[in-house]
Symmetry: C2
Amino acid sequence: MAGTDLAQVRAMVFDVFGTVVDWRGSILAEVTALGRAKGIAADWATFVDDWRRGYRPAMQRVRSGDLPWTDLDGLHRIILDEFLRKHGIASLTEAEIRHLNLVWHRLNPWPDAVAGLTRLKRRFVIGTLSNGHVALLVNMAKHGGLPWDVVLSAELVRHYKPDPEVYRSAASFLGLEPSAVMMVAAHTSDLEAARRQGLRAAYVSRPLEHGPAAPHETVAPDAFDVVVGDFGALAAAMGA
Amino acid sequence: MAGTDLAQVRAMVFDVFGTVVDWRGSILAEVTALGRAKGIAADWATFVDDWRRGYRPAMQRVRSGDLPWTDLDGLHRIILDEFLRKHGIASLTEAEIRHLNLVWHRLNPWPDAVAGLTRLKRRFVIGTLSNGHVALLVNMAKHGGLPWDVVLSAELVRHYKPDPEVYRSAASFLGLEPSAVMMVAAHTSDLEAARRQGLRAAYVSRPLEHGPAAPHETVAPDAFDVVVGDFGALAAAMGA
């Protein structure tokens, strides 16, 4: 471990989208195939990026109280409908649109994720701590073979990250002090919010999250308790 | 399966105390050893039975609003303190009492439980649906190797079974119709309450739950969707 002060960590909770699973690659593959099958021409890479980008303002409407609690299926559907309208795509049936919207339940893990989690699970309680709702996270785990001990979600406290309630709930649900819980994410803002609630923080670099051409943030090796390049290195850093 | 009407079941949620784990045998072994180590003479079998029996009225105080939400650690501690006082047992330190109270996190599975759950997990989402809180259920799963996909608990809705909110929450958290969720329990009252909320019901007989001498309820083979003697038979009945 990076320091003996990490010896008290008992549980590790993971951001999921981008940290554990490759949302962009998974969705791009599925929508490209769908477009080909249905004869729909569109810039699918931009579509996927826009779909993800729309999630932040949609979630913000919930965080601000403008929208009542709405799960990610609901938020994703709002953004998807807008895209289909804007691009005049009318050849998808309601069942096809509903299936497409649930592609977020079918995201594939990064190649190192399952092996790293399996190692960490031997030594720690491992769980999600995601803005995805429980059903989405459970379906995704079945799809990708993610060996979670527990599925923790924004849905359980009806607050989205980075609201402090979400991070505090992880320690509380696990019956642990915040300092015994480590947040793992590929996003510094998530880790900073976790740290403000007393959690430990591990940064895992995912340079391909936004595609090979996108700029990628650089994080100093001492910016968080652990800074690594994949889940294998994370397991090694945590002595698992 | 008992009928094609069970083909729509996607998730199976399990009562835990008595159904998945042998609370009486596990606790009796631990307190007997503790009593021997500390030189405390007591009728430990009666102690264990009283501890479990005290749980229902304690929980009822929460269900009725007499007590605010209190998790099982809190309820178990109230009952334990009363027992120690009543029997004049003063030789346990606070740390020892606290450790003893957490014996409910260290219960051992029935011999057929892990193998049966492992089979069922290949075909269904499997989860707890217990009055135990999340931390207790996660610790117990780590202790006994229970391969849950999801840990659902009374704590998440702050209602204890048999309040209807608990059963409804299982379907809601999993994004399923109630009829796609099967409740598994060794207690008919739990199954009847689940069924009233539209869940499917599987009864698993655990004749040793209250010890070899205790009377055991007999359930007709057609009283629930599935009536079996262990988790191996449950997996077979569900085609897993």
